[in-house]
Amino acid sequence: MATEKEVKKVNEPIKGMKQEDILSPWKIVIKRLKRNKLAMLGLTVVSIIALAAIFAPLLTPHTRDGVNLLNTNAKPNSVNWLGTDALGRDYYTRLLYGARISLTVGLVSTSIRIVIGVILGGIAGYYGKVVDGVIMRIADIFSCFPFIPIAITFVAILGPSIYNVMLVLGLLGWPGICRIVRGEILSLREREFMEAATALGISDYRKIIRHLLPNTMASIIVSATMGIASAILTESALSFLGLGVAPPIPSWGNMLSDAQNRYVLQHRWWLWIPPGLSIFVTVMSLNLFGDGLRDALDPRLKQ
């Protein structure tokens, strides 16, 4: 029988090795990620934008929808940092609040996508056979529709609003993640640890939730990061076309739709360059971070 002293001895670090040297898998990932300068740059930029979105009211003296008809179409100046629009609303303020909308839509729609994709992918991968066949055929049906045309159809039917955009992006985007999860679970369930789980008589639900899904976490996280980026892009396209987030709520996409007017395009750069650049920088940072995360989580995938 092991005495308390002996147990303590086992837990003591090996000679010549400091406590910090023993790394958990997550610590290894973070360490690898920290070495990737581009990924860290992406993370920093995204964090700054997210903070700016959260603390938007503190970062500007103006209000989001504050109309001032005596000060319309002002050029950028010391009071209105990015000028004002045709209704005299401060554009810098709207850009800050636009970040809130774009990031929220990205996060929420990606969450919906992941919940649906993980549940269906998990079920399809674990049970296989007919269940798998049916779920994957449904996924096939969904991926036959070109994304933007079917998305504008849905939004047109439901009516343009921020909630409908989130819902539509979530409901249409799940097959990608479903395929990833299904593929991984399909191979994981044949592993020995699953045999052990079966021998212990664990329920299917527990097997999927506790033993299979955690092993697919890496792919899910990477896919989610990239998914937020593409959701922000799609939301901006829908809003740009007048079918996404409806004014007066500002989103980077609907702020850009002013530029369809030739006069604005030619003479009022401050009304369309800043929101366009914001989308570009945010999406690029998310992609950089996602790339780095993929390399850090699974070095085998490093290309």
């Binding site: 933007i148 039917i157 396209a237 570009f280 790339d291």
Partner: protein
């Protein structure tokens, strides 16, 4: 092979049925009546509205409406009439599809012409300045909203230096010779084509690069080098051919992406294609037209994937069909 093609074709049938049911379901769940514009018309009597409802089959149960819709498509190639344009949907699609195909097909060719060479050089010179440049170019291409890129190009090349026309496919109200007409269309094509090809090339480039990197680490490439073959032959004859096999699959998957991109670009450049027509249909709630275009695009995508699947077998003889 023949057996495989037939089996794959048969497999598409339930998917096509699923697609049409899903679409039909969405449209029947839609609030509002497609004849709503007539209800507010004071000249319409209740009898006339009832007659219209019978004409469009709106008084029948939904399931029956669906069966009728499918029957009409199969038997008469008829997808109903556009509510707004008062013309058959099939006619409208067949008029507009060629300008979309023209743009999409050209952009696919340019995408490959840009992406494959850059991807190959990036892979053979991994971690060189060229590789980093290519990677950054690809990331930018994936991250920039295509409509913003389009607006930047319009601002620079159409407004500032007036090199290319702002919008449309032909200059209206001008008589051209045959040659002049083609040149005019070409001039209108440059900007939308640039946006579609560059944004499309980004993902293809990343894919070609990683596929190529994987191939040049294979043993048979080492063997080819050991035989004393020239590096050019090793790369372009032995490696590239194998690296392009997975790219064929990506080509099939690219079709829906292409139509998505084309829709936005057609709207920005007022290009008279299906995307522009769909946008107008959406704004007018022209349900039969929206339904027709979506069904058409989905079936097109399905067959694109099928062709890619079959082509995969031709380019890679290792694939066995059971």
């Amino acid at each position: 092979m023949g057996k495989f093609i037939i089996r794959r074709l048969l497999q598409q049938i339930p998917i096509i049925i699923g697609i049409s049911m899903l679409l039909f379901g969405i449209f029947t769940l839609a609030p509002g009546n497609p004849l709503a514009s007539f209800f507010t018309d004071p000249n319409m009597t209740a009898d006339q509205i009832k007659h219209l409802e019978e004409l469009y089959g709106l008084n029948k149960p939904k399931v029956e409406q669906y069966v009728d819709y499918v029957k009409e498509i199969i038997l008469h190639q008829n997808m109903g009439n556009s509510m707004q344009l008062r013309q058959p949907v099939t006619k409208l699609i067949s008029e507009r599809m060629w300008s979309t195909f023209y743009l999409a097909f050209l952009s696919l060719i340019f995408t490959l012409l840009i992406a494959i060479p850059i991807g190959v050089i990036s892979a053979t010179k991994q971690y060189s300045i060229f590789d980093y440049g290519g990677t950054i170019f690809a990331l930018m291409g994936i991250s920039i909203p295509s409509f913003f890129f389009a607006l930047l190009l319009i601002k620079k090349f159409s407004i500032d230096i007036r090199l290319f026309p702002i919008s449309g496919m032909v200059t209206p109200g001008v008589q051209f010779t045959t040659m002049g007409k083609y040149l005019d269309i070409l001039k209108h094509t440059v900007l939308p084509l640039t946006v579609l090809s560059l944004t499309g090339a980004a993902s293809f480039m990343r894919y070609t690069r990683s596929s190529m990197l994987e191939v040049i680490r294979q043993d048979y490439i080492r063997t080819a080098r050991a035989k004393g073959l020239k590096e050019r032959v090793v790369i372009y004859k032995h490696a590239l051919r194998n690296a392009l096999i997975p790219v064929v699959t990506l080509l099939g998957m690219q079709i829906p992406v292409l139509f998505s991109g084309a829709l936005i670009i057609e709207i920005v450049f007022v290009w008279p294609g299906m995307g522009k027509m769909q946008h107008t249909a959406v704004l007018n709630r022209d349900y039969p037209l929206m339904m027709g275009i979506n069904l058409f695009l989905a079936v097109l995508t399905l067959f694109g994937n099928l062709i890619a699947d079959i082509a995969y077998g031709f380019v890679d003889p290792r694939i066995k069909y059971d």
